[in-house]
């Protein structure tokens, strides 16, 4: 029996460390090797998808080995319908992110490749950990490479952005650590068994009240900052604008999902009463985020900032879906996480491509690009449309399911959130119109070259997936249904145990 999950998780990091022994001058070797590593990781993660039984709600591909038995911490990993898609999203996006940095990162290339490979292991570890201790280790470990990616290879204001990113995240994580320990001791005191094992802890029915509320809030703050839920979002535009393209893709595509994943994986099953009690607060913030993010996006002069704020809006939808506590909302959220990773990741990739050519991201510096770079413009259109939730592409499926779920909870809130789809069309199409349509206004744009083979290779898989999810989402939702159903049943059972 091959420990597939561990293999997928640790391959990039281990291979990345091995790259340290490659001489710095062998640029070609470093590039090819790192890309190959991420590709192999992706290929290795495919059996997870095909071997995953969608009708089983429990964890699959589980590995459980003692690690620090005296503490009750174990090396316990596995995937279920929730983490499967996120693991795949990560392994899928990493080669693309690396390929996008192919000719762009020249300075300290070796360190960059090693850092990004370690980052991949950190992120995968977060998604597969089934032990709170292990989870926390990965959660913090992945901060460090991201800090370097922004701080070393970022834009002019990179230090400020990197420090802000790390401090902001740290504030939440420290509180989460306290809550993890509180949970650990409470469970130990109640049962006599001290353990960080998530499936075990999830069975524990905690009495509702202050203790549970505080733990929920501590976990919730850490995740809300990561999501980012309004009003904890201000690190995001800075981090995105300063990060290199590959960093932005990973940040938007995967890192933000850790927040929403955390809510699904920890807050809901561990603190069901508090989750239900705080549901209205979260919806409200989520809906504010949807509309606020869209409005603020509309007036951004910088394309990357526009896309960054649009993430606030999109993830507002995801949060809304998670806290509907019904099948439509949760399945919608999960698929929307993947969608956001693809659409926003692709938007960042394409903004990065144009930045490479023109060294500007200001909308005002462009105009009339269709005439010069038609292929770029056409693919950009597909990605923009997917981001604004055009039916037939991926974004629609997630958004609509979330809204259906929200409508059952509270029609008025759903109506407000639905208005977000109007504003999404406004800011994305307005940006598109100013960049792509019209006459060419700047002579500097006349010399732009259309997509290269490498860029085609990066974009085609994303666009293919965007269309595939839009047309045939069952291929993905089918894997998650049972898990989500079991999660809802668990939350309801635990929450009603005290009534």
């Amino acid at each position: 029996m091959i420990p597939l999950v561990s293999l997928v998780t640790f391959l990039p990091g281990a291979a990345g460390l091995a790259l340290l022994f490659v001489p710095r001058r062998s640029v070609g070797v470093l590039r090819v090797a790192s890309l190959a590593i991420t590709l192999v990781t992706f290929v290795l993660s495919l059996p997870l998808y095909f071997g995953f039984a969608g009708d089983i709600s429990g964890y699959q591909f589980e590995e459980n080995r003692p690690w620090m038995p005296t503490l009750g911490a174990a090396y316990h990993v596995g995937i279920d319908g929730i983490s499967l898609l996120l693991v795949l999203l990560t392994t899928f996006l990493m080669p693309l992110a690396l390929a996008s940095a192919w000719g762009v990162i020249e300075d300290r290339l070796k360190e960059f490749m090693v850092t990004i490979l370690i980052l991949e292991t950190g992120m995968l570890g977060v998604f597969v950990s089934l032990d709170l201790f292990l989870f926390y280790v990965f959660w913090e470990a992945m901060l460090i490479p991201m800090y370097f990616i922004i701080g070393v290879w970022g834009g002019p204001n990179r230090i400020y952005a990197a420090v802000k990113f790390v401090l902001y995240t740290m504030v939440g994580s420290v509180l989460m650590l306290v809550a993890i320990l509180a949970l650990y001791y409470q469970y130990g005191a109640a049962t006599g068994r001290y353990t960080f094992d998530l499936p075990v802890l999830a069975q524990y029915v905690m009495a509702p009240g202050r203790a549970q509320d505080f733990m929920f809030l501590a976990f919730g703050l850490a995740f809300a900052i990561k999501v980012p839920l309004f009003p904890f979002h201000t690190w995001l535009p800075d981090a995105h604008v300063e990060a290199p393209t590959a960093g932005s893709v990973v940040l938007a595509g995967v890192l933000l999902k850790m927040g929403t994943y955390g809510f699904l994986r920890f807050c809901l099953p561990l603190f069901p009463d508090a989750s239900l009690a705080f549901g209205p607060v979260v919806w409200t913030l989520a809906v504010i985020g949807v509309i606020y993010g869209a409005w603020v996006s509309t007036v951004q002069p910088d394309m990357k900032k526009l896309v960054a704020y649009s993430s606030v809006s999109h993830l507002g939808f995801v949060m809304l879906g998670i806290f509907t506590f019904n099948q439509q909302g949760l399945v919608g959220s999960l698929i929307q996480m993947v969608n956001h990773g693809l659409s926003t990741g692709a938007l960042f990739l394409m903004v990065g491509m144009i930045y490479e050519r023109r060294h500007s991201r200001l909308i005002a510096d462009f105009g009339g690009l269709w005439r010069i770079v038609p292929a770029f413009s056409a693919l950009f259109l597909v990605v923009v449309l997917s981001s604004l939730g055009l039916p037939g592409l991926n974004g629609f499926v997630g958004e609509f399911l979330i809204l259906v779920g929200a409508f059952q909870r509270n029609p008025w809130l759903a109506a407000l959130a639905t208005s977000g789809i109007i504003f999404a069309a406004v800011y994305l199409l307005w940006m598109y119109q100013r960049v792509i349509f019209g006459e060419v206004t700047r002579d500097a744009n006349l010399g732009l070259t259309d997509l290269t083979t490498r860029e085609w290779a990066v974009l085609v898989p994303v666009v293919a997936l965007i269309v595939w999810i839009g047309v045939y989402p069952v291929a993905f939702t089918g894997k998650t249904e049972a898990t989500i159903e079991a999660l809802i049943a668990q939350v309801e059972a635990k929450a009603s145990a005290h009534r």
Partner: protein, 624 residues
């Protein structure tokens, strides 16, 4: 049978994909793919039409699409006579317009792209008509909106075109916002989105719920069919190529709202309030747009406002429960309005891109086929007895009259008078009055090639015969209504006696009066170019500026929202939220700046502090 059904959208889809992916290679030969695709689709529609069994509904499922818990929707087709009629119109008129485009677009650099979009539109539109549940309807509802966006902005280098495309998409999204909520409500109330189950279950809906759902759905229809207050995008959509205006913004897409309301009649009939709203919005739009059309100087804008107005008629009919009359008007309107647009396109083509009525005139001698066919189309629109528009409009007027809605009838009659006037005005100014273009422009005037005039002729024939063939009223409704009878109940009676005669006579009178007035104003004496469309009075200015609705929206909605967004982005987000975050960071720095002085750097101080600490701890331990 089910294979035939899927062939209808499959042909244009394949055509679109081929032209999208291989457009660079195909280039000028794009029509060899696009036009046959439409022809195939039309043939398949004909087969379907011939095989539709009245009174029976066929559904055929392709695959399960969105599934989450008990939320289940499939890609499913729903076929009944209404579907068949709509498909015939979409693919038939679509095929003619594709053929016409071969001539109209022949030297455009985006030839393949144009046909790719057009095929994509026909695919989406046929799927919209075929859709067997509300979610699928919504999908293609937005997809046709996308094609509309792409085709309006087809000449993307023109800022006005790009702007108009975006405006169309966003205004449609406002409608779709309501439509989407309506669909969510349907699912929440009934647990299904499939047509047959929703329509069966509608009877048990509480009236308040039904009203809410119906009004939300109607909001979507208002967006797509350019009804008040979401009509503003359609006149701007004229920035697109003229065949696009003919196909999308006259014959097919804009009528999707009417189709949807008629299709969902089970929901609407549950709520008298909603039907009343539909009818009155229709009346208001019909009059509103007709008055604006009276004075426009751009030939395409006259037609655009006329389309808005005619869509108002259809909605009125549907709101009054005369579904068959509404759909019949939809069909005849598709013929004569497509004809008018194509005629206008031929004029524009002949004049080298000129759309201004002030610079036309006297074309009747130079463009004979165009003049004849366009005149037939115009008379069809104005309601010459015997032509299609006369019968279909008469059906609507009669429905208003016999259901006792004399007020609506009178208003529609007034609208018909306006229609006759502006149609005649357009016709006179373009073709029959003295030429007003420059000598240079006049020299270049030429008739369109055969590939363009053939569709004109076919549509003209359809305009002439479809009324007589399908629309002669009888005791049991028109032939058209009887064909649709399984879908829509036929209102027996009412088509006889004094009432019917009165309606008929009034319609003829109004038609004659409108034409006569236009003759007096524009033909009786030669007219100078600068006298046309000049804002002589306040009323003129009001109409010429389309009641200032666009500036109003700009002032009341767009600009305040933009200002608010600017405030949120520059002040609230950066100063307040981020300011708080940074202030927190700075407060740590300030605090640290205070306590840093404890760190003197003198070893002695550290040693003394250690000593003091040790003594303090010792004292504490000893004192216990």
């Amino acid at each position: 049978m089910s294979t035939t059904v899927w062939l209808i959208p499959a042909f244009p889809l394949v055509g679109a994909l081929l032209n999208i992916f291989f457009g660079g290679v195909i280039g000028r030969r794009a029509h060899w793919i696009a036009v046959p695709a439409l022809a195939g689709s039309f043939l398949a529609s004909c087969v379907l039409f011939a095989n539709v069994v009245p009174g029976e509904t066929l559904t055929t499922t392709l695959f399960a699409w969105v599934v989450a818990g008990d939320f289940e929707t499939s890609v499913v087709a729903y076929i009944d006579p209404l579907t068949a009629v709509m498909l015939l119109v979409v693919t038939g008129v679509g095929a003619l317009i594709h053929l016409y485009s071969v001539g109209y677009m022949h030297d455009d650099p985006g030839y393949a792209r144009y046909f790719a979009y057009m095929n994509l539109f026909v695919f989406s539109m046929t799927m919209l008509v075929l859709a067997g549940n509300f979610l699928l309807l919504y999908v293609f509802w937005e997809a046709v909106g996308l094609c509309s966006y792409l085709l309006i902005g087809f000449w993307y280098t023109r800022p006005a075109a790009a702007q108009a495309g975006k405006k169309a998409f966003i205004v449609n999204r406002v409608g779709d916002f309501g439509f989407g909520l309506g669909i969510m409500w349907i699912w929440s109330a009934m647990g299904t989105l499939d047509y047959d189950r929703v329509f069966k279950g509608a009877a048990e809906l509480p009236p308040a719920t039904a009203t809410g759902i119906a009004l939300l759905l109607f909001m979507g229809a208002c967006g797509k069919s350019a009804q008040l207050p979401l009509h503003t995008w359609l006149p701007d959509a004229m920035e697109g190529p003229t065949p696009v205006s003919a196909l999308i913004h006259a014959a097919t897409m804009v009528t999707a709202g009417v189709y949807m309301v008629a299709r969902s009649r089970a929901l609407f009939e549950r709520s008298p309030v909603a039907l009343e709203v539909v009818a009155w919005v229709g009346v208001a739009t019909a009059l509103f747009a007709a008055t604006i059309a009276l004075i426009q100087t751009d030939i395409k804008r006259v037609l655009a406002y006329s389309t808005v107005s005619q869509l108002g008629y259809m909605f009125t009919a549907v709101g009054l429960g005369a579904y068959a009359a509404g759909i019949f008007h939809l069909v005849t309107h598709a013929f004569f309005k497509a004809l008018l647009f194509l005629g206008a396109g031929s004029v524009i083509h002949g004049l080298g891109g000129e759309q201004d009525l002030r610079k036309m005139g006297g074309l009747s001698s130079r463009m004979v086929t165009t003049t004849i066919t366009t005149t037939i189309g115009a008379l069809g629109l104005a309601g010459l007895p015997g032509l299609a528009g006369f019968f279909s409009k008469d059906e609507i007027l009669a429905a208003a009259f016999v259901t006792g809605r004399r007020g609506i009838w009178a208003l529609l009659l007034l609208g018909a008078f306006f229609t006759a006037f502006y149609t005649a005005r357009m016709l006179f100014l373009a073709f029959y009055s003295g030429p007003r273009m420059t000598r240079e422009a006049a020299h270049h005037v030429h008739e369109a090639p055969g590939v363009m005039t053939l569709p004109l002729a076919v549509l003209a024939v359809l305009t002439v015969i479809s009324g007589v063939a399908l629309g002669i009223p009888s005791e049991h409704g028109t032939r058209f209504a009887r064909f649709l009878a399984p879908v829509f109940p036929v209102h027996d009676g009412g088509h006889g006696g004094f009432a019917a005669l009165l309606v008929l006579v009034m319609a003829v009178l109004v038609f004659t009066a409108g034409i006569a007035l236009a003759w007096v104003v524009y033909m009786a004496a030669p007219i100078r170019a600068d006298a046309i469309g000049r804002p002589k009075t306040v009323v003129h200015a009001l109409l010429l500026n389309a009641y200032y609705v666009d500036p109003l929206y700009d002032r009341v909605i767009v600009r305040p929202l933009l200002a608010l967004s600017e405030f949120l982005a520059r002040v609230f987000d950066l100063r307040l939220i981020d300011g708080l975050v940074n202030a927190l960071g700075r407060s740590v720095v300030v605090w640290a700046a205070g306590i840093r002085h404890l760190q003197t750097g003198y070893t002695v101080n550290y040693a003394l502090t250690m000593l003091a600490g040790a003594v303090a701890i010792l004292a504490f331990l000893l004192s216990r």
